[in-house]
Symmetry: D2
Subunit: 338 residues, 4 copies
Amino acid sequence: MKQGTSAKEAQAFAAVLEQQGVKVHFSEGASQTVLGLVGDTTNIDEESLRAHHLVEKVIRVQAPYKRAHRQFHPENTRIDIAAPSGPDRHIGAGYLGIIAGPCSVESREQIITIAASVKQSGAGFLRGGAFKPRTSPYSFQGLGDEGLTLLLEAKKETGLPIVSELMDVKHLDGFNEVDIIQIGARNMQNFTLLKELGRCGKPVLLKRGLASTIKEFLMAAEYLIAGGNDRIVLCERGIRTFEDFTRNTLDLSAVPGLKKESHLPVIVDPSHATGLSWMVPALAKAAIAAGADGIMVEVHNNPETARCDGEQSITPADFAGLMEMIQKYAAIEGKQIA
Amino acid sequence: MKQGTSAKEAQAFAAVLEQQGVKVHFSEGASQTVLGLVGDTTNIDEESLRAHHLVEKVIRVQAPYKRAHRQFHPENTRIDIAAPSGPDRHIGAGYLGIIAGPCSVESREQIITIAASVKQSGAGFLRGGAFKPRTSPYSFQGLGDEGLTLLLEAKKETGLPIVSELMDVKHLDGFNEVDIIQIGARNMQNFTLLKELGRCGKPVLLKRGLASTIKEFLMAAEYLIAGGNDRIVLCERGIRTFEDFTRNTLDLSAVPGLKKESHLPVIVDPSHATGLSWMVPALAKAAIAAGADGIMVEVHNNPETARCDGEQSITPADFAGLMEMIQKYAAIEGKQIA
Amino acid sequence: MKQGTSAKEAQAFAAVLEQQGVKVHFSEGASQTVLGLVGDTTNIDEESLRAHHLVEKVIRVQAPYKRAHRQFHPENTRIDIAAPSGPDRHIGAGYLGIIAGPCSVESREQIITIAASVKQSGAGFLRGGAFKPRTSPYSFQGLGDEGLTLLLEAKKETGLPIVSELMDVKHLDGFNEVDIIQIGARNMQNFTLLKELGRCGKPVLLKRGLASTIKEFLMAAEYLIAGGNDRIVLCERGIRTFEDFTRNTLDLSAVPGLKKESHLPVIVDPSHATGLSWMVPALAKAAIAAGADGIMVEVHNNPETARCDGEQSITPADFAGLMEMIQKYAAIEGKQIA
Amino acid sequence: MKQGTSAKEAQAFAAVLEQQGVKVHFSEGASQTVLGLVGDTTNIDEESLRAHHLVEKVIRVQAPYKRAHRQFHPENTRIDIAAPSGPDRHIGAGYLGIIAGPCSVESREQIITIAASVKQSGAGFLRGGAFKPRTSPYSFQGLGDEGLTLLLEAKKETGLPIVSELMDVKHLDGFNEVDIIQIGARNMQNFTLLKELGRCGKPVLLKRGLASTIKEFLMAAEYLIAGGNDRIVLCERGIRTFEDFTRNTLDLSAVPGLKKESHLPVIVDPSHATGLSWMVPALAKAAIAAGADGIMVEVHNNPETARCDGEQSITPADFAGLMEMIQKYAAIEGKQIA
């Protein structure tokens, strides 16, 4: 409370707060009184507290997310995904999800060639973009529905479950056979999209917004869980900082950070984080070493002609080499490749 | 080009580029060759250039936006908005747009009281949120359609044109009588929303994303213009930095920066930028001094009970005091309050 | 305290804290106990608290600076500087300090020409660098002692008090007749320099570090005051963010922020903040509008041949035009140019 | 060049540039001319180019550092440090430097106990601060010379070479028997310190400034090399970003980035980067996986009573566990622990 708040004012204020379901404890100092709110503070609106004329400062001690928090679910969550052929895939709780594929689906031949190749090297999932968010209106925006169709052919051909980005609720029907729906970094706080996916039973790969804190990231996951969908894979993909050597700054401390705060699995996308293919293997290994539950890596059979993000795509040969290393790292860390 | 690229390779590469509509000039150095691409480079895909095995670095000299650029339209653009009563309002080209009102519409009485009060003090536009993007799924999300209805009543009652945020294309029908559609910071790169609004004739108030560069901000405007809508007001509202004293860091250098790069009007929202009502008047004045074409300020008749963002709302009395100062500043700067 | 801390453990821990001169209040919740430390917490070491095995989180409510805080000195501090001729100059408490001059002293003619010109336009202080911090070891590092000598000649010639940057304690003797010693942004946390200047009676112009929070900035001022020197002018000069349109991002919200937290005067340097001379006038005006106690501006009679930072220097003619506007702004704000 | 620059003007300008030792190539476009400067551009002053009235934009293609660049020294540099007993230690070129010890030296018993323990676990170097940079003037500032004496005793007792931070040139004499002189993050651009250490033959552990780009970091190393000292170990220790979950954001992409740009060895300090001891092992392993040439880790036998940074110190037992993992990772990566 501000200096000069009388005991009577403070008590009246506390009484209002207690009606909102918390208990209030008083710490009266020489010059200032501190009120401690105890109980479930999820519904207390910090902003209106801050605006109150008697309040000097509001400090949140409890996390503002509840169901995404590890206290709510102390065990690591494992996401299970049925594969069209072969055993189910898992991400989290000891299982590494290895997701590989091109930035965008370009042709039948391209996606099937890459899919076969990454499967051969040990990937568990195929990624590929059909709808692409692009900074410039003049850039290639993805093949759209046709891209999804080609992706499903690659799924059928190789037996790999697929991951693809949804940009708009109106496309949701086309994602029926997509195994994991990706929410891109720019849409991490697209709340209408999050609410819609909360109602949908499909696993969601939620990418961290490039200016989002760990807490906001978990609040976005909370939107999904509050809506009824707890099949979430969190994906660290770099944050925006002053450093311009890399496209973004990969925040690997988010891996132990997210895993301490939450029970949800966490994977890392070194391709988008750095924008530089030659850095991808080093950082993919680092992600596993830091405790990630998987990686998402862009692989293209011909990065030079890729219609987007070629600079960050590694070749199938590099991916094969990376997977050999990942297998060794997984063994040390006691993890299994799904 | 990378060191060791042969003259023949460089020429072959240049030939491919020239087929894309640019001219290529060679600077051959002792150890490296630099190719200069001259002409309309808007359609050249930087990313695939970067991925090419002969390319070491790609540096863009021309801006990637064309129609939002001042070269395309050397005069300042003025946005005209019909007012339900009284003369048209203008923003830009010597006219200051003063937009004031509560964060969210809460009740008929609240919105009409505030509208009448800010009009009295000299505001030209009423703002109010009906659909609210909120970080927490447990926070008040706005009154929705009912909020829009109340806002339209306030418009009718006071004659002030209104500004309100659109979060989802599916709500667009309800915005028929909204005079300026606001795109929030989190949606600045919601490309499906931008494409839709490009097709719609209404003025758009586009807020800068909190991790967006000036160039990305203008690229988002380019999406709208490329779609056919050039009635755009840009709004600087703070960017995310390491400083946590304020909610965001208001980037006032963006005002002269945007106005140099582009012909579009630029306004400033000091309320969301700082999150601190006591800072708002100082920064609102600073915005006008920096050359802004207007301000957007949150005003609430009872900030303490505001259902969102009360901490950043000033009172009608403070707003009246601010407007007296703004009038003096406008006179010095030779601007007219619309 | 962590969940599971027993009452006995918490009490024992509180007893240790009370021996350090604070009172401890308990808020016992259903699952967690919060201890409130009341009194002078300046000497409490947050870091060792955080490391304690019973402690889950430490949140500081009081500011960690004491003498720089406005509570310690509720009135605005005014810095008085004797001028070699004419009346004393003041900065703060209603007086605007206008500091102008070249980035670095280059020659007798250059510095005297510029000094005479900026004095003519209304500047109260002459700035000029003799020792220059440069990112590259191959760049011009300033004229050193010779530069100081030329600066003192300009002081004698024009009667303007001078401001120059000290990079190393070993040069301090040469600064005897320098009126305000500048500590550059890179040295804001050069604690050996701060301690030395705390012992020196001269006014210090302390520039904010480019990655320093407002709190760290005031802690650096606290080093000076704790050492015995409270003649401090704080200078906001831009912080480092992801935005690369400008060299740094000028944080004008720091002006009201610093003035609310502290009694010290605050000036703004738009030249270093933006690195772009064409932006300087707009932001200099904005600084005054935001409540700054002055500005520091780079002026060069021939920016094209300036040996450093020419790109950010305005011409004497532009400075004269700026001063005309500043005078109008000062009148509105009820401030006097020193 | 700006639009409208005549061919004659451009040629005259180019002639001046060529006098500075570069060759100038012309790319004349429809509306603009681009000049390409070829040759050794290290001495060209970008800033004065930018200030020239004919120049619109200056873009640097070559790196501004020369001797720190890998082109200057294609092989990885290995730093050799004589150990008081046992074989020489190495950092870089296949050797991992493992540096462990307390944040600050507190007592004879403390430093010797920790030294013996980390040696036992496999550390190659002992770290310990005698002079401590502290944000608050009221915090413990280190034992000073006494701290150095105790550190040297620990060196003698255990045979471990030592690493300690130098804050001021005037303390340099006391560092005669210190094996690696550490330059802290706040001093990375303390150019007077860098120049002095350039003249000194001792290995320098240079920490990245918390707001420094990779390029500025290498420019600071260039100061040392230009002064004659190329025995440099670069240390990534986190950069400042908006994320406040960790104290700083560890930028592991700087490891492959620095190693691509430069021949110098690169180590990682996860303790200062995160400020959270429970994150240190995960990120230490990640550093090795990302290709680092070593780690620097804070170890304290009693973190709770540590006089600084206890929160980020791991226990000797945790360090022993970490070293077991590091050994496995080193084996996979084909590195040897020095």
